[in-house]
């Protein structure tokens, strides 16, 4: 069974969702929780059976689908994807467990289970076509969640979300097809397997074009500036659970895909585009942080803060060394936990007051002390306090990129300042001061159902901040092999220099700060 655990992880929820259709609506909550608990347990088993010392793909499965074109149903995980899968099952579990009283609960749970399938599928797929199928499929449940349970602008938001990301991924699909075509030209065989593509060394000018094609798909998903505007709408209109999953998992597809596709396939192009992308990422970090500061709606603040953090992840990814990429993978997890928790927290007050405008609140720390505490912990995690999960990722990402450019890292580091500014200001507006609005005086503090979601997230945020080793080690192993692959494949001297081989012993370069520029 362990050989097919990935398939089981992918298809168990969707089968369960089909059976969910016939479950009576009074017992659907228990059913949903049971299914997601099993799914989460399966993913934990995956972690248990995972060999952290091995850098290759594990639990590989392969079934030919269209042999004539080399399209196979190929799955496998390495240290990079395994934790994102576990995070996705975890978030789905607590998401379902903490669902409030909403209309059409049954449909919601079925939708979430289908969404779970697509999330596991994207991160486990090792065949470009399978990857693409799950990538696009994931849009549908999210479209449905936003469009059916969203706020007043939900139709606009969901259509925008769908079309925008869809348009980007079509360009990506063209890139994939061309990649397969090139593979065919080079070897005489067709293959869409990512691992086969890794073995190709593409000419540099071709890499540049393909990189751009893939980049469009990924950048819209991440979302990178200036393709980010769908995100605030989607978050602003989505129900709590939708925002949580969107922020925690779906956005990670973009950054994950950068590491899975762009870097190892196009090492020279990655080096070529490193500075432009870093500049975009820095704009993301600072600009969206400033926009977040200007928001009046707390959920929008967190939505923009997500973009800002995604900028740091991109910076780490394009550090092109082990420190940076490990950091960015870890930050994906960290941001998943923290942003997920923050959206949950916003959902808590939205459930009570049905507004998210910050000026409606103030002094909540008086009436909801426990809520204020958890929010405070998560806020500190979000601004990257050491010993919380985000710090590890941000530190490593910035540390990695520092090797590539010191000035740009300094600019990206401004993110920790502006991040603190909007977060603290928002916190102050919500929680500090006297209670000005009488409606807030008797708000009930956080209840058990909400604690079910928030306590594990808080625990994770601190545990992985203090002791990231169990997660960071497997990530490190896999990232080292990817960086080594990039180093070996790099053709230009510039790329060879920029992508250090992790296997060679680190020498202490004696260089001045001017030389590096």
């Amino acid at each position: 069974m362990v050989d097919h655990i990935l398939s089981i992880l992918i298809f168990f929820p969707v089968v369960a969702a089909l059976f969910g259709v016939i479950v009576h609506k009074d017992s659907i909550r228990a059913y949903g929780i049971a299914v997601s608990v099993i799914e989460f347990a399966l993913s934990l088993w995956l972690w248990f059976a995972f060999d952290g010392q091995s850098s290759g793909m594990q639990f590989m499965e392969s079934i030919p689908l269209i042999p004539a074109f080399g399209i196979n149903y190929t799955l496998g995980v390495d240290g990079i994807s395994v934790f994102i899968i576990i995070l996705s099952t975890f978030v789905t579990l607590i998401g379902i467990a903490s669902l409030g009283e909403i209309k059409n609960l049954k449909n919601m749970i079925i939708t979430l289970l289908v969404l779970q399938m697509t999330m596991s599928g994207v991160f486990a797929a090792l065949d470009a076509i399978i990857f693409y199928v799950f990538w696009e499929l994931s849009l549908v449940p999210m479209l449905y969640i936003i469009g059916a349970w969203g706020g007043p602008l939900r139709i606009y938001a969901s259509i925008k979300f769908f079309l925008y990301t869809f348009a980007g991924s079509l360009v990506m699909l063209v890139g994939m097809l061309f990649m397969a075509y090139f593979y065919n030209q080079a070897t005489g065989e067709w293959s869409f397997a990512i691992l086969d593509w890794y073995r190709l060394i593409l000419p540099e000018n071709l890499q540049l074009w393909l990189f751009v094609a893939f980049f469009l798909g990924f950048a819209i998903k991440v979302p990178m500036f200036p393709f980010h505007t769908w995100l605030p709408y989607a978050h602003g209109q989505a129900p709590t659970i939708g925002s949580v999953i969107l922020a925690a998992i779906l956005l990670k597809m973009g950054t994950y895909a950068f590491i899975r596709f762009s870097l190892p396939l196009f090492p020279d192009a990655s080096v070529f585009f490193m500075y432009p992308i870093a500049v975009i990422a820095i704009i993301m970090v600072i600009y969206t942080a400033m926009v977040a500061y200007g928001q009046k709606d707390i959920k929008q603040v967190i939505a923009y803060s997500s973009i800002s953090h995604m900028g740091i992840i991109i910076i780490g990814t394009f550090a092109l060394n082990v420190e940076g990429i490990s950091g960015s993978v870890f930050l994906m997890l960290g941001h998943g936990v923290v942003a997920g928790a923050l959206f949950f927290l916003v959902g808590v007050i939205y459930d009570r007051r049905h507004t998210k405008i910050m000026s409606e609140f103030g002094g909540l720390a008086h009436s909801m002390p426990r809520y204020a505490t958890i929010f405070g912990v998560m806020m500190m995690a979000s601004v990257g306090m050491p010993l919380t999960i985000n710090f590890v990722g941000e530190f490593l990402s910035l540390l990695g990129f520092f090797k590539q450019s010191q000035i740009l890292t300094l600019l990206a580091g401004v993110g920790i300042i502006v991040g603190a500014i909007y977060m603290l200001t928002a916190y102050k507006k919500l929680f500090f001061g006297e209670i000005t609005n009488e409606e807030n005086r008797n708000l009930p503090d956080i209840n058990k159902r909400e604690l079910v979601a928030l306590i594990p997230l808080t625990f994770l945020a601190i545990w992985l901040g203090v002791y990231p080793k169990p997660v960071l080690d497997p990530i490190n192993t896999s990232v080292e092999s990817i960086v080594q692959l990039m180093h070996d494949k790099a053709q230009t001297a510039e790329a060879k220099r920029r992508i250090p081989s992790p296997l060679s012993q680190m020498t202490i370069p004696v260089s001045s700060i001017e030389e590096a520029h």
Binding site: V291, S326, I416, I417, A420, I421, F432, K469, P502, S512
Partner: protein, 640 residues
């Protein structure tokens, strides 16, 4: 010995978590007592460690577990107890024990009693990590941790707008500096391959001066934020919004000295780059006089003491920058004792005066608050640096060091500042304790603080008096690690003249302060006197208008820019262009749907038009293929 290290480190954490259990419940005195006991145990452990080190024992170095390890980076939770950190541990645990006990009384009537102890102990824990860590990353944990606790404690009374504002200001200002520190860390890692003190210090010797200078500068930027050096100093005065024990512990004795600690800890770095050291010393001297000048006129008791702290931090940086690391550390220690005492005394006064902070509204309090009067006077004398109190030994050594290093400008600035220090300290004591009982006008009935609070303060009093006696012992201890040298002025005559001259100058300043402020004519200023309308007075009272400038030229533009970014750039440009593209497609559909009139012959006409178009394309492409060579020739001729 490791056992004691762990006790010293984790007792505060246990204390914090224990108190945290009761945050949701009403005040329970035992949380305060247990927290104090736990902190006291940390103090005892530190003392044991101190005797170990004093007895010539090897520094204790433990590595608890791995924190981050990826690529070539390896950061453990490692802790070291050597001469520097044990000094800091002693200062931290001692002052925090005193403050904990004192707070039981001070926070007696506060709703958030339990919460307060939780935060306070968490602060001690962070501070212990900061001083005990054996690598820069661990130091950074503590660095940010104390920042967080400072935020929590400044904003402890979160219902007050000013408190939360000050808390956020402190946090954000510190963040700015932390970025510099982080960059310093990155530079160290990529140039030496490690963040451990030992490894990186060893590698510094092989680096060129430019790199080292950059490392030194960026680390110092970090220190500037934490130690509130110009231009990041404004938060410290605003931080006085927090409860007074917090000001004593965090914003006088421990956290703000973390910057000095960092420079002292990195002495092997800074001794390689004396020009950066000189810059640090100059900035320190500047801040010393700059802050002292603001303290001269301020009418808020706590702010005066805060500026005095700032000024003393300037002294420490001046010493550290000149390479006299042990002097800086010694002054840090002595300063912690008398400044904490001063703050706690101020806390007593505040309590007695029902949170009134204006010393002009006090006066004559020595009759009702005898012990507080004695303690604050001693603390002020120590601060002013009169023989034989602690301040004399530490501050005088700084002056000697500046003189011996032939930095006479720094020396004279510091000397002048010593006079200012004496003046403002005694202006404060005179206004508070001497003269008419002006408070009666406001209907306040002051009373002395609880006995045990006074008892708790007494160790600080004793230390403020006698700490100078440890100078030689201290020197002997840190000599090796800080490469310390005694500063000897070549001729004894010069030394004596200098010392006595300084003393006389300080005494004159004290006398002037007493003469000016200890008389019956003092009234609450109402903004009419000539002095209050003078330019200098206004300038100083408004802190050189720096906070206004920050507000006007940084905070407000930032806020407005954020608004513009959101409402104009994000919504009107970025998003509108996306919607514009979608709109073009929609409109195309709308317009062209007229073609779909439903009338067959119209549609047929369009069909034929399409056919025509495609046929034309076929012809064009056919021609293009036929004449491709010629076309290419023409295009290349055009330079395409």
């Amino acid at each position: 010995m490791e056992k004691y290290l762990y006790i010293a480190l984790f007792a505060p954490l246990v204390s914090s978590l224990f108190s945290a259990l009761f945050t949701a419940t009403p005040k329970k005195t035992f949380t305060g007592i247990i927290a104090s006991l736990l902190i006291f145990s940390a103090f005892v452990s530190s003392s044991i460690l101190l005797t170990h080190i004093l007895g010539g024992g090897e520094p204790i170095h433990v590595e608890m577990m791995t924190w981050m390890a990826t690529g070539d980076l390896y950061i453990p939770f490692g802790f070291v107890v050597d001469e520097i950190s044990v000094t800091m541990m002693m200062v931290v645990t001692l002052v925090s024990t005193v403050v904990h006990i004192y707070s039981i009384g001070y926070m007696d009537h506060d709703k958030g009693f339990n919460r307060f102890f939780s935060y306070l102990s968490a602060f001690v824990f962070s501070m212990m990590i900061l001083v005990m860590s054996d690598n820069y990353a661990g130091l950074f944990i503590g660095w940010e941790g104390v920042g967080l606790c400072s935020w929590l404690l400044i904003g402890f009374w979160f219902h007050k707008e000013s408190a939360t504002w000050a808390a956020n200001e402190a946090f954000i200002m510190n963040r700015i500096a932390d970025l510099g520190m982080l960059v310093g860390l990155f530079l160290i890692y990529w140039n030496t391959g490690t963040l451990q003190y030992e490894g990186s210090f060893a590698a510094f010797a092989h680096l060129d001066t430019t790199t080292l200078s950059w490392i030194g500068i960026f680390l110092f930027i970090g220190a500037m934020g934490k130690s509130a050096q110009f231009p990041l100093h404004t938060w410290l005065a605003d931080a006085m919004e927090g409860p007074t024990p917090v000001s004593a512990l965090i914003h006088a004795a421990t956290m703000v000295t973390a910057g000095v600690y960092l420079v002292v800890r990195s002495n092997e770095l800074y001794s390689l780059i004396p020009h950066v050291g000189l810059f640090i010393a100059s900035l320190g001297a500047f801040v010393a006089i700059f802050a002292a000048s603001m303290a001269l006129v301020n009418r808020d008791m706590k702010r005066v003491i805060a500026y005095s702290t700032l000024s003393q931090l300037g002294y420490m940086f001046a010493a550290a920058g000149l390479g006299a690391y042990w002097v800086a550390l010694f002054h840090l220690m002595a300063h912690a004792f008398f400044k904490a005492l001063l703050f706690l005394g101020a806390g007593n006064v505040m309590h007695a005066m029902h949170d009134e902070l204006d010393p002009f509204k006090m006066g004559g309090l020595k009759k009702v608050m005898k012990w507080t009067y004695i303690m604050m006077t001693f603390a002020s004398v120590a601060l002013a640096g009169l023989f034989p109190l602690a301040g004399f030994f530490s501050k005088d050594t700084i002056l000697e060091a500046a003189f011996a290093e032939h930095h006479f400008v720094i020396y004279s600035v510091l000397l002048f500042t010593a006079g200012l220090t004496a003046f403002y300290s005694f202006r404060l004591t005179a206004l508070i304790f001497e003269g008419e009982e002006r408070y009666k006008l406001f209907g306040i009935h002051p009373h002395e603080a609880y006995k045990y609070m006074l008892v708790a303060m007494s160790p600080l009093l004793i230390l403020a008096i006698i700490a100078g006696a440890f100078r030689t012992t201290f020197f002997g201890m840190v000599e090796e690690i800080l490469g310390a040298m005694e500063y000897h002025i070549h001729s004894h005559v010069t030394l004596w003249i200098m010392t006595i001259g300084t003393q006389v100058f300080v005494i004159l300043a004290i006398m002037y302060a007493y003469k000016k402020y200890n008389n019956a004519k003092i009234t609450v200023p109402d903004g009419t006197s000539a002095m209050e309308n003078s330019f200098m007075y206004k300038l100083l009272l408004n802190q050189y208008y720096i906070p206004y400038a920050y507000e006007k030229y940084i905070v407000v533009p930032y806020r407005e820019m954020s608004e513009v970014f959101w409402t104009h750039v994000d919504l009107k440009i970025v998003d509108a262009s996306v919607d514009g593209i979608a709109g073009i497609i929609y409109n195309t559909g709308d317009r062209t749907s007229a073609m779909q009139s439903g009338n067959l012959s119209t549609m047929l006409k369009w069909m034929v038009a399409g056919l025509l178009g495609m046929l034309s394309l076929a012809v064009v492409f056919g021609l293009a293929v036929r004449y491709s060579d010629e076309i290419l020739a023409i295009l290349s001729g055009l330079g395409v």
